[in-house]
């Protein structure tokens, strides 16, 4: 295959090299498949937690919970992120993909690892949860499958870096890389760190499981595993923030308020976020208080600052673009006139708000050294990360897919009427999941727990408040909504790929990318577009909620026993 064939997309003007295009397609399809599988397992988990339904038996519950975590948190995410990396390098820079054969090898390894992992866990002897804390032991092939998957993903990262080098050398673009590509670079750098940490802990664990290594220290395992587990989530954050900027550009023709601020905020993710994993160890033995305080805050919470900066500049750049295009009346005309019926935009905006208000605030609060005592390992934790990873990353990726899949496969989107509603349905369901899990967690309900009614303990029970049972029931109903939304997404994607109206070289019925807002447009009306009062109001609402919730939790903490 000659690696220089490309087509220019009639709708977007972007260059798709066939080498990159095929890999984009297969990674996106694999991602959707694992989302479907993992989402189905999530349904079973939610229906079991709903105590009145209590669908699965205990052993199946723990097995399915393990599968749910791995499929959606690892496989769906990483496959999609590899697609994002190839898009941000090859497509956005108009460059051939470096070493497509290696990219295929990486893809095959990832598929083999992911499928093998599902098969092994389904055999029942590896229900160890995603964290697989030693000395709990899984089948050796469990660890091996994850290692294979990680090696595949690592290859994907290097193909991405290679493509950047090729683009630079062959001068396919001028000046600096686009902001969205810059964001993808930070995601890929964090991914390399993640995978190396994963190798440092999973390879010895694999050797231990086959009897070559004698013993693995449980505390050391936690420390290193979380260097991996924590930073893996930061890949998602960096990637979905890049997607937010991409969608702001696609739907509004927006550019960042200032390149310098947005890029610095991405850089801060690399420097301040990926090593800050002690919030997972705040109530562990043997970890000093000074280390906990320093590591969670890095002395001044600069990682949080980075996210809060993106939280302002993404809607801010949208506001500026809308004002430049004439929607300049009042505080919020720009937002009211946004295309709320376009799932690319609505998905992205729900992702932004959900990630910030539900995921971001709660994450910082429970990451405070002492407040964590109230929250560690309760259902609050999964409640929090369903807001960050699902409402934040997954919904952003879904929104991106509504744009990318038709462009990539040259097919019209099918079921547009359902697509219009899908982000709202999924967003509503997942908001419920997140809120009700966190609510149950504040009442002390443990995570990863089959039966909070304690039948079968021979009479030793604990009475959780009735509200806890209500929360779990409401969570179950929210799960159903979210799964319907998630399934609708998968059906629309698969339907589009298989049955969407072929476009060939024809343009789509509606234009799918907005022309970039020009300097003249920004400067018209005395540069009034540069003021973003609406976004500032939203940001201040966010800030006040954040501060209130933060101090309320210190108050809760003050009410419990003395702990020293």
């Amino acid at each position: 295959m000659v690696n220089n064939e490309f087509r220019t997309c009639p709708d977007t003007g972007l260059k798709f090299y066939s080498s990159a295009e095929n890999l984009l397609k297969v990674n996106a399809v694999a991602a959707v498949v694992f989302l479907l599988v993992g989402g189905f397992y999530g349904l079973l988990v939610g229906l079991t937690r709903w105590q009145a339904v209590h669908l699965l038996a205990a052993d199946n519950f723990y097995m399915v919970l393990t599968l749910h975590g791995l499929n959606v948190l690892i496989f769906w995410m990483i496959f999609f992120e590899i697609a994002i990396l190839y898009f941000c390098s090859s497509v956005l820079l108009g460059c051939r993909l470096a070493t497509p054969r290696w990219a295929w090898a990486g893809f095959v390894l990832m598929v083999v690892g992911a499928v093998m992992n599902n098969v092994i866990v389904l055999q029942g002897a590896s229900s160890v949860m995603m964290t697989s804390y030693v000395p709990m032991e899984a089948d050796p092939l469990f660890y091996l499958s994850l290692i294979l998957f990680a090696v595949g993903a690592l290859i994907g990262c290097f193909v991405f870096f290679g493509t950047l080098v090729v683009a630079k050398a062959e001068k396919t673009y001028e000046g600096s890389v686009p902001l969205v590509t810059f964001g993808a670079i930070t995601a890929a750098i964090i991914a390399v760190f993640t995978i190396v940490s994963g190798a440092i802990i999973l390879i010895p664990t694999f050797l231990w499981s086959v009897g070559v290594v004698g013993e693995i220290d449980a505390l050391a395992y936690r420390l290193i595993w979380w260097a991996f587990g924590h930073s893996s989530q930061q890949i998602n954050v960096a990637a979905h923030v890049a997607v937010w900027y991409a969608i702001a550009a696609i739907v509004f023709g927006a550019r960042p308020l200032s390149e310098k601020v947005s890029r610095t905020a991405f850089l801060m993710y690399i420097v301040f976020l990926q090593l800050a994993s002690a919030h997972h160890l705040l109530v562990d033995p043997g970890v000093s208080a000074n280390f906990k305080m320093f590591n969670t805050s890095y002395a001044m919470y600069l990682a949080v600052m980075a996210s809060m900066v993106h939280g302002l500049t993404v809607p801010g750049s949208i506001e500026a673009a809308q004002r430049a295009r004439g929607y300049s009346a009042g505080l919020f005309t720009w937002l009211r006139k946004a295309p709320w019926g376009n799932p690319v935009f609505s998905g992205m905006f729900i992702s932004l708000v959900g990630f910030g208000f539900l995921g971001g605030i709660t994450g910082v609060v429970m990451g405070a050294e002492q407040i964590n005592i109230l929250i560690h390992n309760t259902l609050y934790v999964p409640g929090h990360f369903h807001a960050t990873v699902v409402l934040g990353s997954t919904l952003a990726f879904m929104a991106m897919s509504y744009w990318l899949v038709p462009v990539l496969f040259r097919r019209e989107l099918v079921l547009k009427g359902i697509a219009k509603w899908q982000p709202y349905l999924f967003g509503l369901g997942m908001t419920g999941v997140s809120l009700f899990l966190m609510g149950a967690g504040t009442l002390g309900v443990p995570r990863r727990h089959w039966d909070i009614g304690f039948a079968g303990t021979g009479g030793i029970t604990h009475e959780f408040p009735a509200a806890a049972y209500t929360m779990l029931a409401l969570n179950g109903m929210s799960v159903i909504l979210a799964v319907i939304g998630g399934a609708a997404f998968c059906v629309i994607m698969v339907g589009t790929i298989l049955f969407g109206k072929k476009l060939g070289n024809q343009k789509m019925a509606e234009p799918c990318i907005v022309a970039p807002v020009t300097d003249e447009e920004y400067e018209a009306n005395g540069g009034s577009a540069y003021a973003i009062p609406g976004t500032l109001v939203l940001a201040m609402v966010f800030f006040v909620s954040f501060a209130l919730y933060y101090f309320i939790n210190w108050k809760y903490l003050a009410e419990t026993w003395g702990i020293a």
């Binding site: 205990a58 001044m300 750049s317 050294e369 727990h449 079968g456 030793i460 419990t560 702990i563």
Partner: protein, 180 residues
């Protein structure tokens, strides 16, 4: 040019920062300092700061310490499993074992008094979740974690395992009593 293309101004790093951005960054920076300050501040004025004193141990050694503790201070046996109820003196040490799938023994404390807890696991990792006080602490085998608890209300409390430890994880519940 949008965020999908190279910045139109080649020297983008010399462009001035947007005014609203600067304001927001300053606000967030101060907020970060406040949040950073809260943790050491709570170490000084707050009453909830989990101790970090930790010793390497073995399941055998820790079991022996706990058995000695139970031997010395047991006041009665109780509950469906007929576990010893152990009432150590105020200010004294409390040893508690986490294992598949129970917490051993039952301890009886006095409200308002402080006790030095020694906590470890004989097998897997477990989660010490004291309800409804909602105090949650990770339990790791081969490490003896020592910290102080001061109950502020009397009653019957449950210790629920909140770290997945195996197929009987949901059966792992124990009791802790606080008397006036």
């Amino acid at each position: 040019m949008s965020s999908l293309s190279p910045p139109s101004k080649k020297l983008w790093w010399n462009e001035p920062i947007h005014k609203t951005e600067l304001m927001w960054i300053s606000l967030v920076f101060v907020w970060g300092l406040i949040m950073t300050f809260m943790m050491p501040y709570w170490h000084v004025v707050g009453k909830q700061n989990l101790g970090t004193e930790t010793y390497k141990t073995t399941p055998k050694a820790f079991q022996a310490s706990t058995e000695a503790f139970v031997e010395q201070y047991t006041v009665r046996n109780e509950g469906p499993r007929n576990f010893p109820v152990v009432a150590p003196p105020a200010g004294g040490d409390v040893y508690m074992i986490a294992r598949l799938y129970d917490w051993w023994p039952i301890v009886e404390l006095k409200k308002g008094e402080s006790y030095r807890f020694h906590l470890s696991s004989l097998d897997m990792q477990h989660g010490f979740s004291l309800q409804p006080a909602n105090i949650n602490i990770q339990v790791v085998p081969n490490y003896e974690h020592v910290f102080t608890l001061t109950p502020n209300a009397s009653g019957e409390y449950s210790i629920i395992c909140n770290e997945y430890c195996g197929i009987g994880h949901h059966l792992m519940i124990g009791k802790l009593l606080v008397v006036d």
